[in-house]
Amino acid sequence: MLVSQQQKLQEEIRALVARHGRTRAALMPVLQELQEKYASITDFAMQVVADELGIHPSEVYGVVSFYAFLHHEPKGRFQIRLCQTISCDLAGKARVAKQLENELGIAFGETTPDGRFSLEWASCLGMCDQGPALLVNDRVYTRVTAEQAHRIIEECRSVFGAHATQAAHA
């Protein structure tokens, strides 16, 4: 990372901490905002957060590594999370999964080489009456069929084209 980028991130984290309060209880909201903006939380970011909150960086790492929605390793701009739990399983999640892999050319747990898409399994999303269900970042898709996999990905691509430099929130 360039020094100027690091400085910018540092300032950003200071502002976040100022807004959420310089307390341990601010850790999650601060990390969640970083995650939302950068799709992952780097070692450098964790170090700065730790310094700002006056805790050891390993404490921050412990929290980041615990939660499924916080990532230490780089992830795609679009994180596709397909529910693997029972109701979606009964509703045919396996074929949706296969087709998502086919469309993106990656397996679950992987990120496309261009850094645009990550494919992941999720536990029950609370959409069990409308499965198979998946999330693309914050957005919920329900009753997804294998035929729709392509369209969902294309929708993301068009958003990406429009704001290529920003984290897109479909």
């Binding site: 929290v63 939660y67 929605f69 693997q84 029972i86 999720a122 029950c124 959409m127 499965g131 329900t142």
Partner: protein, 401 residues
């Protein structure tokens, strides 16, 4: 497709005018508020079924440590597989939920409320913030609420980040305090030592909305619904093999057979009551009642049609628990992994009866030795399938998959 409305029956909550419950509660003394909740016989809708009046009483009596205050937490982590009724409540009846929190605050003397919303529901956040804003402007949150001198209370929304165990109340508090979501030893209970070490009431979304309904319509009305031990109406999240999956309201005490009739699921071979941590009830027991005295549940009902492979179901649940165990204690961390291995062996048709018996003993160890409800209940589904569907489990061939 975008999510559609899950509601399949009219809900009592449709008939509750926002504001009416809070006004009725504020007309009472604190002790009488708790008295009314106790008189309604309301039990927690999050699954455990602890009497809400008793919980509030304990928190009301608890001493605050130092200068800080008491807290009311709404548990909107809704992670139990097959549960989605809290999503519907937060979408369509958020006022009633916030109102229940406000009534709880009045009862126990809390000044701050937190709604812990699961990360998967972050799309609901702008809507919930808007409802909170409206309630502040209407004087239903903030200082001197509805003209009640000295009654100050406000609510903040905090997000979860994809961890089922954070629905467990002490893990939820750990998470709110900026830690890994690892359950604490209980006691001490949150009513004494909760968020920031202060007395804290943690209640489920539906429990809090039900409180509002109780104040709008009276404890006697609520008690008149359901059974002697299980008062009131309850929301059910129904999914799986039925004609009309969705959210239903029924009085507690309904039998599984009656429920299946209503959701278009007759002919099912089994019904999972209580989600992954609940049990698979076979057709021969469809006369059993959904109530705290028989089959207790937070409302997750998953229907399995005649063609379903119950070992596959058990495997899916066990994969869930291996993924979601916080890893803090050995019976749960190692036990769930061992059970999954055992299920895979059964799947291959390579499991002796002796080995199956060992798995059952392992289940029993996990039930008594795990630190929190996750590990204590994770063997339930497998055990119920071993008990009720033994013919599907032993001596499998590749054709059985």
């Amino acid at each position: 497709m975008q999510p559609s409305d899950s509601r399949k029956t009219p809900l009592t909550f449709d008939t509750i005018e926002p504001g009416s419950g809070l006004a009725a509660a504020l007309a009472k003394s604190r002790a009488d508020i708790i008295g009314e909740v106790s008189a309604s016989n309301l039990k927690g809708r999050g699954g455990a079924g602890f009497p809400t009046g008793t919980k509030w009483n304990l928190a009301a009596a608890a001493r605050v440590h130092g200068e800080a205050a008491k807290y009311v937490i709404c548990n909107a982590d809704e992670g139990e597989p097959g549960t989605f009724k809290d999503r519907v409540l937060l979408t369509a009846y958020a006022d009633l939920v916030f109102e229940g929190m406000t009534i709880a605050a009045r009862a126990i003397g809390a000044t701050r409320g937190l709604l812990y919303l699961r990360g998967e529901y972050v799309y609901l956040r702008p809507h919930l913030e808007a409802v909170l804003d409206r309630r502040r402007k209407a004087g239903q949150l903030g200082a001197d609420i509805l003209g009640t001198p000295g009654f100050e209370f406000d609510i903040e929304i905090r997000m979860g980040a994809g961890a089922y165990v954070c629905g467990e109340e002490t893990a939820l508090i750990e998470s709110l305090e900026g830690h890994r979501g690892e359950p604490r030893n209980r006691p001490p209970f949150p009513v004494n030592t909760g968020f920031m070490g202060q007395p804290t009431v943690v209640n489920n979304v539906e429990t809090l909305a039900s409180v509002t309904a109780i104040f709008a319509k009276g404890a006697a009305w609520f008690r008149g619904i359901g059974t002697e031990k299980s008062s009131g109406f309850k929301l059910f999240s129904v999914s799986g093999d039925c004609d009309a999956p969705g959210v239903y309201e029924f009085p507690l005490g309904i039998t599984i057979a009656e429920l299946l009739e209503r959701v278009g699921g007759t002919g099912a071979k089994a019904v999972q009551v209580g989600g992954a941590s609940g049990q698979a009830v076979p057709a021969s027991q469809f006369g059993r009642r959904i109530a705290f005295e028989d089959l207790a549940t937070g409302g997750s009902i998953i229907v399995f049609g005649p063609g379903r492979d119950m070992l596959h179901v058990a495997k899916n649940f066990m994969e869930f628990f291996v993924e979601e165990s916080c890893g803090q204690c050995t019976p749960c961390r190692a036990g769930n992994a061992k059970l999954l291995e055992g299920i895979e062996r059964l799947e291959r048709g390579a499991c002796s009866s002796a080995y199956l018996n060992e798995l059952v003993r392992l289940c029993e160890t996990m039930q008594v030795a795990s630190k929190c409800g996750l590990g204590q209940s994770s063997p339930n589904a497998f055990l119920s399938i071993v008990t009720n569907f033994q013919d599907e489990i032993l001596g499998r061939t590749p054709a059985d998959r």
